[in-house]
């Protein structure tokens, strides 16, 4: 057959080529997704939304959970803890809870639940209760009893409820495949837990830093058998572990007040680093061949960000006066945020300070690009971590206001999208939709509200 190349065919070819370069993020399998908050560019993703605009669906979520939604195919998974009593509402704002504001110990029976929602409609596909009892641990007045984001490998969904010490795997039909009791451990401050589990290949990694019996453990994803466990000399932290794949090896990186530690897949400590603030919360991320770790408790003089090169071993802590060494590409002693995790998007390292300020640094060198820029003078605070797509940075306040900022070396505030309700959970992005969880609802935001 004679081949004929017509202008129309050429145009179609260009179109196909162009479409193939637009790879939308299809799955969002765990906390902050596959690239630490960065979603693939997708023209279908929304720039504006409100309670009435671009809402594909909004569902009421029972109970309270600050875990993020995760998405795999047509499945949207969320976790929550549902009390049988009226519980005090979480309180917005930036504060260091002491005295009356410290801990909240509920005596009411709670149900710990995993929910699978239909991507298109938000309909509940199934809801599985994993435990029912009064919480054995207390929590800070802003925290929930379901703050760990679940994780999936596309075959099973894994949950960790630190409040009750439960690790479990469910299939996509909601059947519990295995469950393990790892102990409900109350930290000294009793502010509750929030370290999300991590899946890498056939292992599920769980970290619980609590001052009493801190540990990291690896479980077989299929059987739930504990493969290894390592005690951690750590106080309470709320930073989740990440996997760091690079040319030399694959590491599990954990950040903590005592030390940043990297573990090999068999549990051996590869390297460690001292010099974090109190109460480490931000989750590390990997980009540009570096892994970034940070912490920023405001009451600590040291609130560092470290950019670490691959291949380290032993103690790579900076000596006094140093800002780099062979394995620390750059460090900034006062850049770390308290609750939010940083974002690397393109060439830049973005920091959202909890009080609504954005800073931008060169991701490779740490060189300041722009200093503190205000997102909002009156926001209650920023706890959810920022995300990015389509050349924009997004930061959502506890008030439910999302601020859009132009990505790149110049600060430009592009707009604000508001939803009702308090937000601490980091949103998810998948298949052209943005998922935002408030204290009471889950939204799927999509252009035109399309289903």
């Amino acid at each position: 057959m004679k081949s004929v190349t017509t202008p129309a065919v050429v145009a179609l070819g260009f179109l196909v080529m162009a479409m193939s370069t637009v790879s939308a993020t299809d799955q969002w399998p765990g906390f902050r997704g596959p690239r630490a908050g960065v979603a693939d560019d997708d023209p279908a993703l929304p720039d504006t939304w409100s309670e009435k605009e671009n809402v594909a669906w909004k569902i009421a979520v029972p109970g309270l959970g600050w875990s993020s939604p995760i998405v795999w195919g047509d499945h949207v998974f969320i976790t929550t803890a549902v009390s049988s009593a009226d519980e005090p509402a979480p309180v917005k704002g930036l504060f260091d809870p002491i005295g009356d504001h410290s801990r909240n110990r509920s005596t009411a029976e709670h149900r710990w639940v995993v929910i699978d929602l239909d991507f298109a409609t938000g309909r509940v596909r199934w809801e599985r209760e994993l435990h029912r009892a009064p919480p054995p641990t207390a929590k800070q007045m802003k925290n929930s009893y379901a703050s760990e984001t679940p994780v999936t490998d596309g075959e099973r969904v894994y949950v960790y409820f630190g409040a009750i010490g439960l690790v479990a795997a469910l299939d996509f039909n909601g059947q519990v495949l295995w469950r393990r009791d790892v102990g409900a451990i109350e930290g000294l401050q009793a502010w509750g837990t929030a370290q999300s589990p991590l899946v890498y290949r056939d292992r599920l990694y769980v970290v619980n830093d609590n001052r009493m019996r801190s540990f990291i453990a690896a479980f077989d994803t299929k059987t739930g058998n504990e493969i290894w466990r390592s005690d951690r000399e750590e106080v309470e932290n709320w930073s989740s572990p990440i996997v760091w794949e690079h040319e030399q090896r694959t590491e599990i990186v954990t950040a903590g007040e005592g030390k940043v530690r990297s573990y090999g897949l068999s549990g051996e400590v590869l390297w460690e680093l001292q010099g974090m603030s109190r109460s480490t919360i931000p989750t590390p991320l990997a980009a540009h061949g570096l892994v970034y770790v940070s912490s920023g408790y405001p009451g600590s003089a040291l609130r560092p960000v470290y950019a670490i090169r691959p291949g380290a071993s032993g103690d790579i802590s900076l000596k006094p006066g140093e800002t780099s060494n062979p394995f620390i590409a750059w460090a900034d002693p006062r850049l770390g945020s308290y609750n939010t995790s940083p974002l690397v998007y393109g060439d830049y390292f973005y920091t959202v300070l909890d009080r609504g300020l954005l800073l931008c640094h060169d991701a490779r060198t740490g060189k300041p690009i722009y200093g503190r820029q205000r997102l909002s003078p009156d926001a209650s605070g920023f706890t959810a971590s920022p995300w990015a797509y389509n050349g924009k940075i997004f930061a959502i306040s506890e008030d439910g206001d999302t601020f859009l900022v132009q990505a790149g070396p110049s600060f430009k505030l592009l707009g604000k999208n508001s939803l009702d309700g308090m937000v601490l959970a980091t949103p998810a992005v998948a298949r052209g939709s943005l998922f935002i969880r408030t204290s009471t609802s889950l939204y799927r935001i999509a252009k035109g509200g399309r289903r």
């Binding site: 704002g93 930036l94 504060f95 009356d100 405001p298 009451g299 600590s300 009080r355 300020l357 003078p377």
Partner: protein
């Protein structure tokens, strides 16, 4: 009001070591019974806080103080500022509240504003109130309409904003653990302070900043930071550029401090009240003290009256001389 103080405890010691500085004699003249955390004086009125409650006390006759009215706020009172007939209260998570005390027997809440953080103290700068708002920094709030206080902007501080003092066109902010920052109030919202210094000794959760009033007296202008450790004294000869003058340890924990002229009055816990001369800020000298039967927690000075809260149980009214 009770009047109970042991005669033996009345005494006051002027220290010979005071050198050229004049010794101070302190004599108990009365007391205000009841729980007391913080104490302030304005005119002939004392303002006493206990937990969430503010109580007004008439001091026209210091030997016989009279309780007037009281108001209970939604949250713990960390600090207050008095401006005419209004009292501005920093009450933790509930933020800033404005209490009308024109009728001191029946104070009325005029307005309140939930601040983004945790209100730790408040100071007045004309029609603006500045609130040390913990994680949220220093809030600037328009209080020209007490019924509708409005957040204008905020100043960034590195750590937990613990205290703020306005003097003229400047605001001095204290943040935990080691920040003393000066802001120019004529540059609202600026992230760049006029000056920032790092305290040599980190401050704990409860810390206080006092700054000399602008005056024509020959007393040197200073800023003092306390909070359970030493007095950290800064020379404000150049108001926008604090210079560390001394770090001075009292015998006790130096919980809070009040300034009058060149004298600092330090509530020194179990060591009682210490009066320290700062005529030369780099050379503080104790010129008087008073040992109470319970730890001294807070202090306020007005004219010849010195009020101290003791053990959280009462307020002692002392008269100083000279």
């Amino acid at each position: 009001m009770t009047r109970r103080w042991p005669a033996a405890a009345l005494l006051v010691i002027g220290l010979a070591a005071a050198g050229a500085a004049q010794s101070v004699t302190l004599t108990p003249v009365g007391s205000i019974s009841g729980a007391a955390d913080l104490i302030r004086i304005a005119g002939t009125r004392a303002y006493v806080t206990s937990g969430k409650t503010l109580t007004l006390v008439d001091l026209t006759d210091p030997a016989s103080p009279t309780r007037l009215g009281a108001h209970t706020f939604p949250d713990l009172i960390w600090g207050l500022a008095i401006g005419g007939d209004m009292v501005y209260v920093a009450a933790d998570l509930s933020g800033l509240s404005i209490l009308d005390v024109s009728n001191p027997r029946a104070p009325v809440l005029r307005g309140s504003l939930k601040t983004p953080g945790q209100a730790k103290n408040v100071t007045l700068a004309g029609t603006r109130a500045l609130v040390a708002d913990h994680v949220a920094g220093i809030d600037v709030i328009d209080v020209s309409s007490p019924a509708r206080p409005a957040l204008l902007e905020s100043f960034f501080v590195e750590g937990f904003a613990k205290d703020v003092v306005a003097r003229g066109s400047l605001a001095y902010a204290l943040d935990q653990p080691t920040g003393l920052t000066v802001f120019n109030l004529t540059k609202p919202g600026s992230f760049e302070p006029a000056a920032a210094v790092t305290l040599p000794v980190p401050i704990p959760l409860r810390a206080q900043l006092v700054v000399s009033e602008e005056s024509s007296t020959p007393a040197p202008r200073v800023a003092i930071v306390v909070g359970g450790g030493p007095l950290q004294i800064y020379d404000l000869t150049r108001p926008e550029g604090p210079v560390h003058a001394a770090t001075y340890r009292t015998q006790g924990p130096a919980l809070r401090v009040a300034l009058q002229g060149a004298r600092a009055y330090v509530s020194d816990g179990p060591q009682g009240l210490q009066v320290i001369d700062l005529s030369v800020p780099s050379k503080p000298m104790v010129v008087g003290s008073y040992k109470a039967s319970s730890p001294v927690r807070d202090v306020a000075v007005s004219g010849s009256l010195v009020l101290v809260t003791t053990g959280g149980e009462e307020v002692l009214i002392l008269r100083q001389s000279p």
